[in-house]
Symmetry: C2
């Protein structure tokens, strides 16, 4: 690995982080390397830089493709496939969110819904049923919110995040505002 020290550190860190998620160390490192690279990299260069076997890199890239996290490119005059990450970090975050949702959240919701269709018999089952209901509700809320903000363009999403908890205050204000504004179609700003 003859990478600049800061790049090496980042790559190693991401490998570790990856393995705390379901992603294996190798795959994390490959992604980190591609993320920092200023040009698309072919598999053999990745293998060389990270000291992995060619076949390992091939499998890692496959995995990243399944996650839709990398893009494949062909450079003129070079037969090899080259790989990059999207330039836009938000695009990466969105993809990650979508894929994790598809793989982890949706199946869980399905299981919960299926179970909740059944009628609990014993007391213990009744209690478990209630617990699953509240879990289902929370997950639904969270994913519903995710769906919603996924539809926003980047700038709006960023604005929203920056506003953070202050949205709560804005909401209060808005309640009042809305009340005033919608009471009558404009002309007179206040009445009553």
């Amino acid at each position: 690995m003859d990478l600049p020290p800061s790049t090496a550190a980042f790559v190693l860190h991401f490998g570790e982080m990856g393995s705390r998620w379901g992603i294996n160390r190798t795959v994390g490192q490959i992604y980190a390397l591609l993320f920092l690279s200023d040009r698309p990299l072919p598999a053999d260069e990745i293998a060389q830089s990270l000291g992995f076997s060619r076949s390992n890199v091939s499998m890692g890239l496959k995995e990243l493709e399944n996650w839709r996290l990398i893009k494949l490119q062909h450079l003129p005059g070079d037969r090899r496939e080259h790989f990059t990450t999207p330039d836009d970090v938000w695009a990466i975050v969105r993809t990650l969110a979508e894929e994790r949702r598809k793989r982890e959240v949706d199946p869980t919701l399905t299981l919960l819904r299926d179970t909740l269709m059944q009628t609990p018999r014993s007391d213990a089952e009744k209690h478990a049923h209630k617990r699953m209901e509240s879990l289902h509700e929370v997950i639904s809320l969270l994913t519903g919110w995710m769906d919603d903000v996924q539809k926003l363009p980047d700038e709006r999403l960023v604005a929203l995040l920056k506003l953070g908890g202050r949205v709560a205050r804005v909401l209060e204000a808005t309640d009042r505002f809305h009340e005033i504004v919608t009471r009558k179609p404009r002309r007179k700003a206040q009445e009553g």
Copy 2:
């Protein structure tokens, strides 16, 4: 495992899901069992229900304690320690968010900040530097938002999530509102 079928299914599912995250299958199953149980369970009952060795359960509970995900209780007339999950699912979600943040996000931000303090030399390093900058920005934004909403009481958080993307529209409205209201302390509505 002589659990009701729906409980067994849930427990197994959570075991699988756990292992897609960094959490091992056993720990996931223990948590799922406690989550559904209508009473605090002692370690030996957990071991019995799930078919794990007593020592494995002991280690699993230790892990869950480190994550602050379970509570220990003593029942009158029973010398054994009994374990439960919080009743409130939101409390669980909040704890999970805090712990994952502490373990995964904060160290990453630290690494990024440390690296960004240094001056990049080569072109490649300059590019990597820029990439890390944008990653840092995105993560900061997300965690900042998290911090903010963590402070909200449950009802407000739920209200916020329900509003979802419609907040964006509220924001537009608020922009206008704000503009009008703050332009001057009222008397004259517009000026140069």
